[in-house]
């Protein structure tokens, strides 16, 4: 059974700040996507920044940072499972 202990949720001010942060990261992502001289580093940077945005929304807007740990585990199970399936598909298609 999922435990019921939670932390209080953030205020509206925090939500606005997080939204501004997400918008800024998106702007940086778009700028990076046009910088050809970055080479392979471009992909790494874009995936990293996309990951930062992804987990920021999940943690703050979806309240996973403040809710019970069980919910976190359920969602992580989906993400880890997907990565395993993705790796298996790529291996099966000999994409490595």
């Amino acid at each position: 059974m999922v435990a019921t202990v939670t932390r209080p949720h953030p205020t509206a001010k925090t939500y606005w700040l997080v939204a501004a942060f997400l918008a800024a990261v998106t702007a940086v992502e778009i700028a990076i996507s046009y910088l050809e001289f970055l080479g392979p580093a471009k992909g790494v940077l874009l995936v990293t920044l996309g990951g930062v945005k992804f987990f920021t929304v999940v943690a703050v807007f979806m309240h996973l940072r403040y809710d019970v740990r069980g919910y976190r585990m359920l969602f992580l199970f989906g993400i880890v499972g997907t990565l395993i399936v993705f790796a298996a598909v790529l291996a099966a298609m000999q994409a490595f």
Partner: protein, 202 residues
Amino acid sequence: MAVATDDVFEEHDFESTADPIHRTRKTAMWIWLGSEVFFFGAMISTFLLYRNTTNDGPGAEIFNVPFTSASSFILLTSSLTMVLADSAFQRRDQRQGRIWLIGTVGLGLTFLAGQIFEFTEFVEQGLTLSTSPFGSAFYMLTGFHGAHVAAGVLMLSLLIAFSLRGRLSPDHGMNVELTALYWHFVDIVWIVIFTVVYLLQI
């Protein structure tokens, strides 16, 4: 039970969190969202496998990244309005909650209009569902995401209607929270699609 308000945290209705029925519904929602990660993960994997299989038809070069970037900002902003709506309903401020919900619906509809415009442009440039594996994978992935946004807009519209009829009492606050979870999920899927399908391909 409510907790003390300070500069960082706000008053939050913890009774709903402790209620077994609400807890079960929220757990079910997270299980379903976890399964949705698999669903979109499979679609994104398929796109990555076929991203270069264009059969001499149009490929990623036809993407209009500035336009899609604007769409991304719109969807990100809708996550803000959604969380503010959820927060207002948690405070039992129905009027404020409704205003933010209407804003979220408006932004969701704008995103969908942008997607329809984008699809129309791509079809005119020769990229259809059957042009190539690239086209099939692209339209299936972004189309299913669009369908999820449309379903979210429908759910939000129902919440607004319930609220106007007085059928969204504080006891039903969980409905807003669960819809908010769904809406944010749609947003994070788009974050991945925007990065993998658009930005990494140009």
